[in-house]
Amino acid sequence: MQVTIGKVLGLGGALLGATVAAAACENKAEQKPGAAQSGALGASQSLKQLMEARGLTEADVEAALKTYVPGGKHDEYMIFASGGHSGQVLVLGVPSMRLLKVIAVFAPEPWQGYGYGGESDKVLAGGDQNGKRIGWADVHHPNLSETKGDYDGKFLFVNDKANGRVAVIDLGDFNTKQIVANPLVGSDHGGAFVDPNTEYVIETSQYPVPLGRDYAPITEYKEKYRGVAMFWKFDREKGRIDPAQSFAVELPPYTQDLADAGKLVSDGWVFINSFNTEMAVGGTLEGKPPIESGASKNDMDYLHILDWRKAERLVKDGKATTIKGMRVLPMKVAADEGALALVGEPKSPHGCDVTPDGTGIVVGGKLDTHATVYEFSKIKSLIDQKKFEGKDEYGIPILAFKESIRGQVEIGLGPLHTVFDDKGFAYTSVFIESVVAKWSMKDLKVTEKLSVHYNIGHIMAAEGDTVSPDGKYVVAMNKMSMDRFTKVGPLFPQNFQLVDTTGEQMRILVDAPIGIGEPHYSQMIKIDKLAPHAAYKPGENPYTGKVDPHAVLSPKDARIVRNGTTVDVYMTVIRSHFVPDRIEVDEGDTVNLHMTSLESAEDQVHGFALNMYDVNVSLEPGKHENISFKADVPGVFPFFCTEFCSALHLEMAGYFLVKPKGG
């Protein structure tokens, strides 16, 4: 084999890494290869020509200069964005707006070997509902873990609106560690968000159902259907949600929507908005109005105000009932004990965002032109004085709207979500108008509107929902892109627009097409708050954080052990071979593959795929995987590496032979 990869180093002998190519550099060794290249454009004259040739304006060039991040330099911020229907989380860099990673969360993902026979199957199984594997998700709201109301860069939580689930992602390895399934309801929207110290990951339901999802006729909607606010207890030490320590608070069958946790002065409280307080249930086939009109009759819906620390105490005091294994605090108890109240909010609202100082709660009108700013201190004092306007039909006290608010901001058509900067400004997404409205929190007046493209849903600002927003950037997350990108068929990419908020006027810097789902919320964190590692410790199981009991740390320990009809294979994985590379079993055997990557170098990844058995895992440096399956198809099946690990990657292969019964 005369690959002329050249001679080799001796005592430091060495060869081929991944690519054999390159080499051409003539640099002296101590000067690192790839010295800076100077641009061809020296003179401003040629820059002008280039602008003309490409049809760029000066504003375009300025935006390009503000966002261009050359290879080798790094972004300033990282965005964790909902991947929408993909069921995954997208990671983008700011200001480049380049996609850095798609974190597999609720749906199998082949590259990360997520859900194809390895340990991650157990994580996905955590999201089973009614004993059934749910193969997709609609990821809505990523939330970073917080310490004292500020992002700490340790964990990320996301909800699956479609199936009522919450996932925990560890930002040590950007890997999903846990999925919990809400046993009470089937959909959630207010979540996943956290309290300022991430004691709980909070998830509030969307479409009311009988709690526990049992059957009850739709005619018993008011009596039997309910919503919940779910408080998943987060064990930071373990990095996992502890369902046994979690609880829910029963809510009336108003369709609860978005929610946010109080911070600073309002810490200990949760605010949840709702629509369809009309409790419309449709019936279009019977000639009744669809939910869309039935739910839009009232001029006011209800903002729910929940004292979760009090609710937690009541649950601890045994005031909860248990449904499907989950402790649920009845809303009657919560209301009677002063833990739950309602206040009107205009009309079919959307967005529910607590201001950085924790004193205000901003709710977008959606079908009303205002954003309403509630004053927490007023709400608190009304509740403390038990000064109520009345009660709803479930006995929950209602506060007077006028006495609960700081004021209303005339925003425009379809205000939704609001985020904040460091200079006392708020930025509200305005869906119908397709604008970002910037307004002052001092006088509740809009100072500027920026057209975005198009139909903005969520909006996000740099650390804009923490106690200390950074300012600088806002991202408009648009539902439509229309003419903004090259056509790719009838399903258009969504459009993230990075907005510069540092100047006199807001300026769009870059459009980033999102072609993998309809993203909802996202969060932006300063890069220096993150400290992901580049390798696992040798033999580490990423899901336990410990060296796996089946880890194989040397090829000398590689072996095949048969025990009745169970075959345990202890395998090492290193460039560019598996030990063992021949496995022979009998049809019907249970096969357990235990494999450890003996690599330690950065970015030196192998895959292990066994064809026809739907097995594929990713083996990052040091990682251990356990794969278990039944050898139910006789025949000969090659297994091989699925990451181009080295020049001999294709040679990194072996055979799995299944002897037929009686053969």
Partner: protein, 244 residues
Amino acid sequence: MTSIAADSRNPATFEPTHRRLTVLKTQPGGRHGAARWGVIGLALGAIALQVASFFQPWWWIKLYAPQYPKGLKMVISLTGVTGDVAEVDILNHYIGMAKMNDAAPLERQLAGYGIAFVGVAVLAVALLAGKRLNRLLALVGFVFPAAFLTDSFYWMYRFGHTLNPEAPIRLPPFTPQLFGNGKIGQFMTFAQPSAGFWLAVAAFVLLAAAAFARSRVCAGCARRGTCGAVCADAFVGPSAGAAS
């Protein structure tokens, strides 16, 4: 040469014993005495440097390739190889080269004893050698750096000439470069001695200086005519250099 004036200021000089007076004349407080202690000082300094070198890296090599933008670094000390050894071993297996830490097993085990031996040898030569054996001092200092270089070259040669013929990539035998820039496959290499080696060289320089100084002292020694293989005065002994 002790001056009378100096002696008169020193109460000790008035001690009336014969022996004391003899000692005074010849004791290492005079010009030759200072030189003798200087030689010993140099020798002790050299030993200290040599011992320090044991705890320092002796040589390092850095390998650059496109896919290793930070480079791979291996650091060789008298007791083993550290750094990106695992990665280099993985790369080397493609050409059938032995593992880095399989090199020089005996040498690595004996290095500590070697340092101790050098220390003892230096002291022995400095104190006991007769005037013709002064050069031994420099020679003892020369042993370690020279042995290290020779041995390194030997192991490089051996590693490059005992490649496993079953390896995926077969190369003609070769000997890697010990100093400076090199190129191996897609790797650009840079190798050079490190602190430990230079400390040993410095020790050698001190010992060479000590040998020279010692030869000057011996040349002026009262016993130079009768000096054999062994210094009768243990160089700085009580009657060292006594006037004949």
